[in-house]
């Protein structure tokens, strides 16, 4: 089955919901439809199933306009799984799945046959719902109910599944349960899947391709790694995100930053001495609190270097795995000089970055207010034979403020205020 959407537009009265959408879905593909609320995802899905009537010829299945297909043929092509299904009537799970056989009846008077019963049982066994087939549908949990509805879709023996945020009302367990089931139907049985998904990472993980809609336009379509770029997401959703690769699956994943404005409100800047990843939460907390942030000295490839890059924080960088050079150290001191506060995070100290501790000492000598975050264990991670711990003690005795958490740090800095 090949689905082609050709120059599809759709309006509710005056309001245009879809504008000139063009896309093709191949047999056996898993396509995710994404976009902000109101971007037209559900409308597109409803046009494809011909529930909303679009212009003839705008949607084709194997070259045939869906608007001209008899309802039973369409019902044998697409099976729809809505966001959630509920009914006030006491249908059993079995009754619900049996409804999937309605398009296959020979005539109106025909009841369910043994063949229908077999199709229902096999669909329910595949979705692991056979064990509660006799229970009332409304008495099932959200995940079980959604699996029953998927069983109904399978009993319909369609060529493609159309899903509208099938996991939106489910907990994390139910979400994975349902998505894994859909993927196995897609991979093992070759059923084409077109699903509206709201969770970017879910989409990145399961979809072959993602179609990103924005305001009725098809903004981008392609493999997740191509579509889910920070620039694209920023322009469609208006949020800053970081895109990383999952080290185990190589799938991309997306982490949103806070939507709070990160523009410095206080006009001051805090310089963080960090490394090894301990600085990330501190940078984020200070940015969220409205302070400007800089860091140093960090090796390229260090996780704090990545953090600083993702958060657009100015950084003094050093070559990967190299010891801090004099030029980098001087640059670090320059940033310290311009900063209002200097924070010593509990970063692991080794011979290569011992200079950062010296920079802290220099900061005190410059008269900067120095805050020292103590590691949770109480001892600095030290690869220089206790030297680092000694320096930290010296710093505190010469006027640095010892702190235990990033919350405490933000409070302290906010309380003291930025010296004008």
């Amino acid at each position: 089955m090949k689905l082609a959407v050709r120059n599809l537009s759709y309006s509710f009265g005056e309001k245009r919901v879809l504008r000139n959408v063009e896309l093709e879905v191949d047999s056996g593909e898993f396509l995710g439809l994404m976009g902000p609320n109101g971007s037209g995802k559900t409308t597109l899905l409803r046009c494809v199933m011909n529930y909303l009537r679009s212009d003839p010829g705008s949607i084709l299945i194997d070259g045939r306009p869906i608007q001209e297909m008899p309802p039973e043929d369409l019902a044998k092509t697409f099976a729809v799984v809505p966001q959630s299904s509920s009914t006030d009537f006491t249908f059993s799970a079995y009754d619900i799945v049996m409804m999937g056989r309605i398009p296959h009846r020979s005539n109106r008077l025909a009841g369910a046959s043994k063949k229908d019963a077999d199709a229902v049982q096999s669909a329910m066994e595949r979705t692991d719902t056979w064990k509660f087939a006799g229970r009332p549908f409304f008495a099932l949990s959200g995940g079980e109910r959604q699996r029953v509805v998927i069983a109904r879709a399978i009993a319909q023996s369609p060529k493609a599944l159309l899903l509208d945020e099938p996991t939106v009302y489910l907990d994390i367990n139910g979400q994975l349960e349902v998505m894994d089931l859909i993927r196995s139907l897609n991979k093992k049985e070759g059923i084409t899947v077109i699903s509206v998904l709201h969770d970017v990472n879910m989409a990145a993980r399961y979809c072959d391709r993602i179609a990103l809609l924005s305001n009725g336009w098809l903004e981008a379509i392609g493999p997740p790694a191509e579509v889910l770029r920070p620039e694209t997401i920023q322009s469609v959703y208006g949020v800053d995100v970081v895109v990383r690769k999952d080290p185990f699956t190589n799938a991309v994943y997306v982490m949103p930053h806070s939507t709070l404005s990160t523009a410095p409100r206080h006009g001051g800047r805090v310089h963080i001495l960090c490394g090894g990843g301990v600085g990330g939460p501190l940078m984020k907390a200070l940015l969220d609190a409205g302070f400007g942030v800089s860091t140093g000295v960090l090796n390229v490839l260090d996780s704090d270097f990545e953090n600083a890059k993702d958060l657009h924080v100015p950084t003094v960088a050093e070559m990967p795995f190299a010891a801090i050079s004099d030029s980098a150290h001087l640059e670090n001191l320059r940033l310290i000089k311009e900063a209002d506060f200097v924070v010593v995070s509990p970063f692991p100290v080794g011979p290569g970055n011992l200079k950062n501790m010296e920079a802290a000492k220099a900061a005190l000598e410059m008269g900067k207010r120095l805050l020292v975050l103590r590691p949770e264990t109480g001892r600095t991670v030290d690869f220089v034979g206790g030297k680092a711990d000694g320096i930290v003690k010296d710093l505190i005795s010469s006027g640095a403020i010892p702190l235990c958490s990033s919350d405490e740090m933000v409070r302290e800095i906010t309380r003291e205020g930025v010296r004008k």
Binding site: P82, S92, G100, R105, A133
Partner: protein, 366 residues
């Protein structure tokens, strides 16, 4: 140590064959119940054989003889009582009960609401206006159409009302059930006040009108039975033909569409069918409440919500229920009788509340 055998596998799955067998048994039982209740109901009456036997008593063997067409020489008046009074009355009660229960089932599916009933789109209030009008003007006593004038007028006003409500609830060929429901309520309230106004000025017709409004089979005739039975038979058949489509509709219009069912035409067909059979029933017997609401509800609790079984089972149960209710209406204060609508509401109201509470307490859907 041996592992214990797993017990849960016993309750796993659904045995299709045994479900079908159970449904078949239900239908056989209900048909038997219908025959039995009809037969007993025909024996009940003021002259007996089940009854006070005043002013004279008709023994069982005579009644059986008359019913089964024996050649023996029975009194002409007894034959008339059985064949011109009791039999058409029991059959009419059965037809009306079947029609109302079936219409109620269809309406509950269309509105996707187990609280809907056959009168929800204004059939009863519309019919009342016609019937009360006929009663006041007195055309029911004119020679030309005689007793058929009231039903004819009630039927007409009922359908006009339903058409008005349907038009109010339809926008651009799409039936909006919530709008339809509210239009039905508003129109019913308006027509109800018109009926009250007419009753207020009705004078000596007052008692007759109230009797009609509460519903009664006292005016039963073969003609009435033929009309109602014909309408009910055709209507019930149509609803049954669409029973799997109704199942799909209960999961929402989008799902119904996806299963190849056109929700718009289905809703329209069901509304028209339910309105016509309800209007036919109401025209001859007045407004009998609660049957169309309670019977589908009660039957659904027993056989489940699948309309393939629900439609026939509710139809049969409705027939049985009204036969029994009418028999009670005749017997409770014999030789006078109560309007059957009072009996159905008296039994139906509390029973309905009981079901409602029970389901709420056990956390089930209604």
């Amino acid at each position: 140590m041996r592992a214990l055998p797993r017990k849960e596998s016993v309750s796993e799955g659904v045995d299709f064959v045994s479900v079908m067998r159970r449904r078949f048994i239900w239908l056989v039982l209900l048909v038997a119940g219908l025959l039995l209740s009809s037969f007993v109901a025909i024996l009940v009456g003021s002259i007996g054989p089940i009854g006070p036997g005043e002013p004279e008593y008709m023994p069982f063997d005579e009644a059986f003889g008359i019913i089964f067409g024996s050649d023996a020489n029975y009194s002409e008046s007894h034959i008339n009582i059985i064949w011109q009074v009791r039999v058409p009355r029991v059959l009419l009660a059965a037809a009306v009960g079947a029609a109302l229960a079936c219409a109620g089932t269809a309406m509950q599916a269309v509105f996707r609401n187990p609280m809907a009933d056959p009168y929800i789109v204004g059939v009863s209030s519309g019919a009342s206006v016609g019937a009360v009008l006929a009663g006041i003007v007195g055309i029911s006593t004119t020679a030309l159409f005689g007793a058929l004038m009231t039903p004819a007028l009630a039927f007409t006003t009922a359908l006009v009302t339903v058409f008005a409500v349907y038009s109010l609830g339809t926008v651009g060929g799409k039936v909006y059930v919530n709008t339809l429901l509210l239009s039905g309520v508003a129109v019913a309230a308006f027509l109800g006040s018109m009926v009250s106004l007419m009753i207020y000025f009705a004078g000596q017709q007052f008692h007759r009108i109230i009797f009609w409004l509460l519903g009664s089979f006292s005016g039963a005739s073969w003609t009435g039975f033929y009309v109602v039975a014909l309408a009910a038979a055709v209507g019930i058949l149509i609803v049954f033909i669409f029973s799997r489509d109704l199942n799909a509709l209960l999961l929402g219009e989008e799902t119904a569409h996806n299963l190849g069912v056109d929700p718009e035409s289905l809703k329209t067909i069901m509304l028209v069918v339910a309105a016509v059979i309800t209007a036919a029933a109401v025209a001859f017997t007045g407004v009998i409440g609660f049957v169309g609401l309670i019977v589908p509800h009660m039957v659904r609790l027993v056989v489940g919500a699948d309309h393939r079984i629900l439609v026939p089972a509710a139809t049969l149960t409705g027939a049985i229920f009204l036969i029994i209710a009418d028999t009670a209406a005749r017997a409770v204060i014999a030789p006078t009788e109560l309007p059957v609508g009072i009996i159905t509401a008296l039994c139906g109201g509390p029973f309905f509340l009981y079901l409602l509470r029970r389901n709420r307490l056990s956390g089930e859907a209604t």
